[in-house]
Amino acid sequence: MSDDARNAILQRLEAAVPRPLPSRPALPPAPEKALDRDRLQALFIDRLTEQAGVVYPVADPVALLETLARILAEEQVARAMVASDEVVAPLGLADRGRRHGVEMVTPADYPDRDRYVRAVFDDVQAGITGVDFAVAESGTLVLVHDARQARLISLAPLVHIAVLPAERIVPDYETAMAAIYAGECRPGQITFITGPSMTADIQGTPFKGMHGPQKLIVLLLTQT
C-alpha cells in the first residue's frame, strides 16, 4: 500500500518539468569565525544571556565544584540526575554531592527505563550534563545524545546545569555539526539548547519553565 503510494507520488513529482536551479548568492563568511578565543567566549556568554541563560565562568575544576555546590544549595536541590558523559563523569560528582548533602543519581542507578523515567520526572530537582559544543553565533549549547547523554536529564528537571569546557566553544553551527557527523555513527538525536523552556502563549505574557527547565545555568570552565 505504501509502496504503491510511494511510486505514484514519485511518478507525479517526476512528471513535473524541472526548471533550472536558482544560483546561490555569495554569503560573507560568518563574522564569528574571525574572533579570537576570548572574544568568541565573550560573545557566547552575551548571546546566551540575552536568551535568559545564566553563565558562571569558573577558572578550574575546584572552583567549578564550589560554584556547583552553591547553586545546588540556592536552588534547594536534594537530588540531582547526572549524565555520565566525558565532561561530567570525571568530576566525581557523586562523592562531592554526598559531602554537601545532595544525592547524585545517574540513569544507570535504575533497574529499567520506566523507573528511570519516573525518577527524572518526579524525584530530582536538577539535571547536570556536559556539553559537546557551544555555538557563539546564537549562544547555543549542543548536546549529542548517546548512552552517556540521556535526553531527559537536560529536559525534565526544573533546573538544567550544563558544564562547558571553554575550548568547546565554536563560532558557528557548521563547525559543530561537521565535527559531530565526522564520526562513524550518526547520533540518534542532537539537541540545540538556547535558553530555558519559554512560552508567551497566554496573552503574550512571557514566562520560563513551560515544559522544560525554568533555569539554564552554564558552568563555563575556562581552564582545564
Binding site: 513529482l13 546564537s138 535526553r151 539537541t191 513551560m210
Partner: protein
C-alpha cells in the same frame, strides 16, 4: 480539519467587531515584525542571507523526487521507518493503527500545522484514542475547539477568564486564577503526567535533510522534545516539500526560520533526529516512524505556478506583514494555514470551490513577498488563482463567472473596442451618474453598485470628456508646423 473558508467574510466581520481581537492585532503583528527585522540585522549581509534562503527552497522544489528518495534511503539507513501517505486518510489510518498496536490509550502532539491539515485529532478520537496537544497555545485552542489564531501564538487572543474557566472545567486547574503564569504552570503539571507515561508521541517536521536522513524540529517550550524523548514510539509527519539537500542548507534555513518566526537567532530547542535511539541509550524512541505526506502536493508540483507555493517553510512572517491579516486575524482563513501563507496553500490543496473570498482578500501590496524567507510571490499566485477561478479551471475547481458578470464583461469589451459606441456609452453614463450627485459627489447610483460605493465616492463627472475638450482646445491652439517624415 473542517474547511470553513466559505465563511471568510462572515467570520472576518465578527473579528472586525471583536474589540479583543482588534486590540491584539494592533500589537502582535507589529511587535513580531519589529523583532524579525532586528534579528535579520544580526546577519553579516541580511539581503544575501535572505536571497540564499530563497535559492535553497527554489532548488529543493525543483529536485523534490530525487531529494525524497535520498532522504528515504538515509532515514532507513539510520533505522527509521518511512511511510508514504497519498492523502490524509492514509496518514491517519497509519497513525491510528500504530497507536492501537502500541496499546496507546492516548498520544501527545507537538504543535504542527500538518496534523491540523490531516484532522488527526478527530481520526484518533473516532478510534477511541485521545490526542493531547502539548504546545500551551494549541492545548488551549484544543480545549476551546478553536482554530489557531496565529501560527506562533495559536491562542494568544483568548481572554484569561476563558482559559481559567475551561481549565477548571477540564480539571487542569484546582483553584481559579487569572494569572497567566499560574495557568501555564497548571498546564505544565497536567501535561507532564501525560508525558511521563507516554507510549506514543506525534510531531510535525520543520526541515528534513536528504543527505543525512535527519528530521529537525524547532520550538521554545520543550514539549516537542518530550514528545521525541519520552515515548517508545515516535511519529514525525512531514509534508513532502520540507526536504532540503544538505545539513548546511538546513542550518541556513534554521537561521532564517527562527528569525522570521519569532525574531530569535535560534528557538530555545532545536532537535535533529536521525533514526531511533541507539543501543544502550536510557531514553528516546525505539521506533521512529516518518510519514511523508502528499495530500495534493505532487499535483501542485506539476504546475509551475503552484509549485512555487511548495517553497513555504511555515514561519508566519507573512501574517505579520499582511494588512488584511492585521485587521481580521487568523480565524477567517478557515483552515490549518492562515494569512498569505494560507491564501496560497489552501486553494492549491483544497481547490477554488470554497476559496473565492480567500483569494480575493488581498490588496496586492506585496509586503508578504518582500518578507518571505522562502521566496514565494504571494500576490502573483493570488492573481493566478483568480484567473483560474474566472476561467472555471476544471483542475482547480474554478467557479467561473455568473451569466450576468460574463455578459457585463463581454459588453464592456465589445463597447470598448468600438469607439463610437464607447463615446455614446460614456455620454449616457455621465448623465445617469450625475443625476445621483449631491453636493458635488456621487455616493450611490443603483442597488447593484452599492458594494462599489460602500467605501468610496465619485466626484461629479464633468460635462465634457477629455476628447471633447481636446477638440475645443484644438481650434484655439495655433496650427503646428507639420514635420515631414
Amino acid at each position: 480539519m473542517e474547511l470553513t473558508t466559505a465563511r471568510f467574510k462572515e467570520t472576518a466581520q465578527v473579528e472586525l467587531d471583536n474589540a479583543r481581537t482588534q486590540k491584539f492585532l494592533r500589537l502582535l503583528p507589529i511587535r513580531l515584525s519589529a523583532r524579525r527585522d532586528a534579528a535579520y540585522r544580526s546577519f553579516a549581509d541580511p539581503e544575501a542571507a535572505h536571497a540564499y534562503g530563497h535559492a535553497i527552497r527554489g532548488e529543493a522544489i525543483e529536485r523534490l523526487p530525487e531529494l525524497l528518495k535520498t532522504f528515504e534511503a538515509n532515514a532507513e539507513a539510520n533505522g527509521a521507518l518511512v511511510f508514504w501517505a497519498a492523502d490524509s486518510d492514509a496518514a491517519n489510518a497509519y497513525i491510528v493503527d500504530l497507536a492501537r498496536r502500541k496499546g496507546a490509550r492516548y498520544v501527545t502532539k507537538g504543535k504542527s500545522m500538518i496534523t491540523e491539515e490531516l484532522g488527526l485529532n478527530d481520526a484518533l478520537a473516532a478510534a477511541g484514542i485521545t490526542a493531547w496537544e502539548t504546545d500551551l497555545g494549541e492545548f488551549i485552542a484544543q480545549l476551546l475547539e478553536k482554530p489557531p489564531f496565529h501560527i506562533v501564538g495559536p491562542a494568544i487572543n483568548i481572554p484569561v477568564e476563558q482559559i481559567r474557566d475551561i481549565f477548571m472545567a477540564r480539571g487542569v486547574l484546582d483553584t481559579p486564577t487569572i494569572d497567566p503564569v499560574t495557568l501555564g504552570r497548571a498546564a505544565r503539571r497536567f501535561l507532564r503526567d501525560k508525558f511521563r507515561d507516554l507510549r506514543m508521541g506525534v510531531t510535525g517536521v520543520n526541515i528534513a535533510v536528504a543527505d543525512t536522513g535527519t528530521v529537525i524540529n524547532v520550538e521554545n517550550e520543550g514539549n516537542i522534545r518530550f514528545n521525541k524523548s519520552s515515548p517508545r514510539t515516535l511519529v514525525c509527519v512531514m509534508s513532502l516539500e520540507k526536504v532540503v539537500p544538505t545539513m548546511a542548507d538546513a542550518l541556513h534555513m534554521l537561521r532564517v526560520l527562527c528569525r522570521s518566526a519569532t525574531g530569535q537567532a535560534a528557538g530555545a530547542y532545536i532537535t535533529f533526529d536521525s533514526g531511533p535511539r541507539r543501543e544502550g541509550e536510557s531514553d528516546g524512541p525505539e521506533e521512529l516512524h516518518i510519514i511523508v505526506l502528499d495530500n495534493g502536493r505532487s499535483a501542485m508540483a506539476a504546475d509551475p505556478h503552484t509549485r512555487e507555493v511548495l517553497r513555504c517553510i511555515r514561519c508566519g512572517a507573512c501574517l505579520n506583514a499582511c494588512p488584511v491579516y492585521g485587521k481580521v486575524g487568523g480565524y477567517p482563513y478557515g483552515w490549518a494555514y492562515s494569512g498569505p501563507m494560507g491564501q496560497v496553500l489552501t486553494p492549491a490543496l483544497r481547490g477554488l470551490a470554497d476559496t473565492g473570498d480567500l483569494i480575493r482578500a488581498c490588496t496586492l501590496c506585496h509586503r508578504c513577498k518582500v518578507i518571505c524567507p522562502a521566496g514565494i510571490d504571494h500576490p502573483a499566485t493570488l492573481l493566478y488563482y483568480r484567473h483560474k477561478d474566472v476561467q472555471a479551471d476544471p483542475q482547480m475547481g474554478g467557479r467561473g463567472r455568473s451569466a450576468m458578470e460574463r455578459l457585463a464583461y463581454w459588453g464592456h469589451a465589445f463597447v470598448g473596442s468600438h469607439p463610437r459606441l464607447w463615446r455614446l456609452f460614456a455620454r449616457i453614463v455621465r448623465r445617469v451618474a450625475n443625476r445621483h450627485a449631491h453636493d458635488g459627489t456621487i455616493s450611490r447610483i443603483t442597488r447593484r453598485t452599492e458594494g462599489w460605493f460602500s467605501s468610496r465616492d465619485l466626484p461629479l463627472l464633468p460635462q465634457d470628456t477629455f476628447h471633447d475638450r481636446w477638440r475645443q482646445g484644438a481650434a484655439a491652439r495655433k496650427p503646428r508646423k507639420e514635420v515631414s517624415s
